[in-house]
Symmetry: C2
Subunit: 198 residues, 2 copies
């Protein structure tokens, strides 16, 4: 659920160029935000020639979309901490950290998604992937007998996380990490009470 | 929580101009969406001269922000249907209707909020107002003894509604009205189980 970290990985020159450009994009974003993100600055920071970047990614939104695609390639999985409540707290802390601390890849791509269909589609794919991977923390809890077997996994994950997006991204209101923890606890209690049984 | 309907009301010429312009803005939005919203089209439809509109509202985002402000003036209150579950279902149906059916004022202002601080501030004020007004359905349920007295009212309302925004606006995925109903039922069950007691 968190902002994707683009990790270096083995590969040829093309993979290295992608890695360098995406890392520079992420750093520029973190320092200057989406509104000021510019291909020339990414070129200067990455050491990759601007014509190469324009040819491969075309626009700033192309860079952002590829940054999210790279996030889908990674090995992210929700923490396995032994209980539904603590798993949801770990997840909510990741989401909270990705949204609450200055300009993030996540908020930048959300902004971009209202401008270009490319960014919107990348965001839809990214979240589909992350919600699918997150479902395991609910099925593990069901296997442990913590919650009913017919608990709707994605709804539990969304119940824990979506108020954080709503509060921080859409309402633009403050939310503390303690509030994010509280949401996780409320969701775990609701699931244990059978509120999410389909 | 729904898209604000700008109602005609008594008043002088200034109030009538505002009413005509905002109604035209809402109709243009519904027909053509945010990306195509233009002051000239609003002028043509409302019969108010474009220079008047430019002087008073300046930009398309100014029109949208004022449309939300007008929504705050209205007499909206959540339905009082006799139970927490049916009150939340009524609320979720309003939110679902505002978001799921073509270009809405709500989705347009959300898009605008990522471009101008004016629209972002209008959206924050609008939601603050609507969440504050919605809290009464939770306090009513507590008074009826349906839920614990220390239930966090705004958190219950947000638990019911925020997955609809997340799914339809941010993830850009389908959600049926039956799913919105289900979320309301799950939230009511969770509140009854004490999951939202602070």
């Amino acid at each position: 659920m968190s902002s994707p970290q683009f990790a270096t990985r083995p590969g040829g020159r093309t993979a290295r160029v992608r890695s360098d450009v995406l890392r520079a994009t992420e750093q520029e974003l973190a320092e200057h935000g989406y509104e000021s993100l510019a291909i020339d600055a990414v070129a200067a920071r990455s050491g990759v020639h601007r014509t190469t970047i324009y040819r491969r990614w075309k626009t700033v939104d192309g860079l952002l979309s590829d940054l999210l695609e790279a996030g889908r390639d990674d090995h992210w999985a929700p923490a396995d901490t032994g209980s539904l409540e603590s798993d949801l707290i770990a997840l909510n802390r990741e989401v909270h950290a990705a949204l609450a601390s200055g300009p993030s890849v996540t908020t930048a791509v959300i902004a971009a998604s209202f401008r270009t269909p490319q960014a919107a589609a990348a965001l839809t794919r990214f979240w589909d992937d992350r919600y699918e991977r997150s479902a395991v923390l609910v099925t593990r809890a069901a296997e442990r007998g913590e919650i009913p077997a017919d608990t709707a996994a994605e709804d539990v994950v969304m119940a824990a996380t979506s108020p954080i997006y709503h509060q921080l991204v859409l309402r633009r209101r403050a939310m503390s990490r303690a509030d994010a923890d509280w949401l996780a606890r409320a969701t775990a209690a609701a699931a244990k009470a059978g509120a999410f049984a389909r």
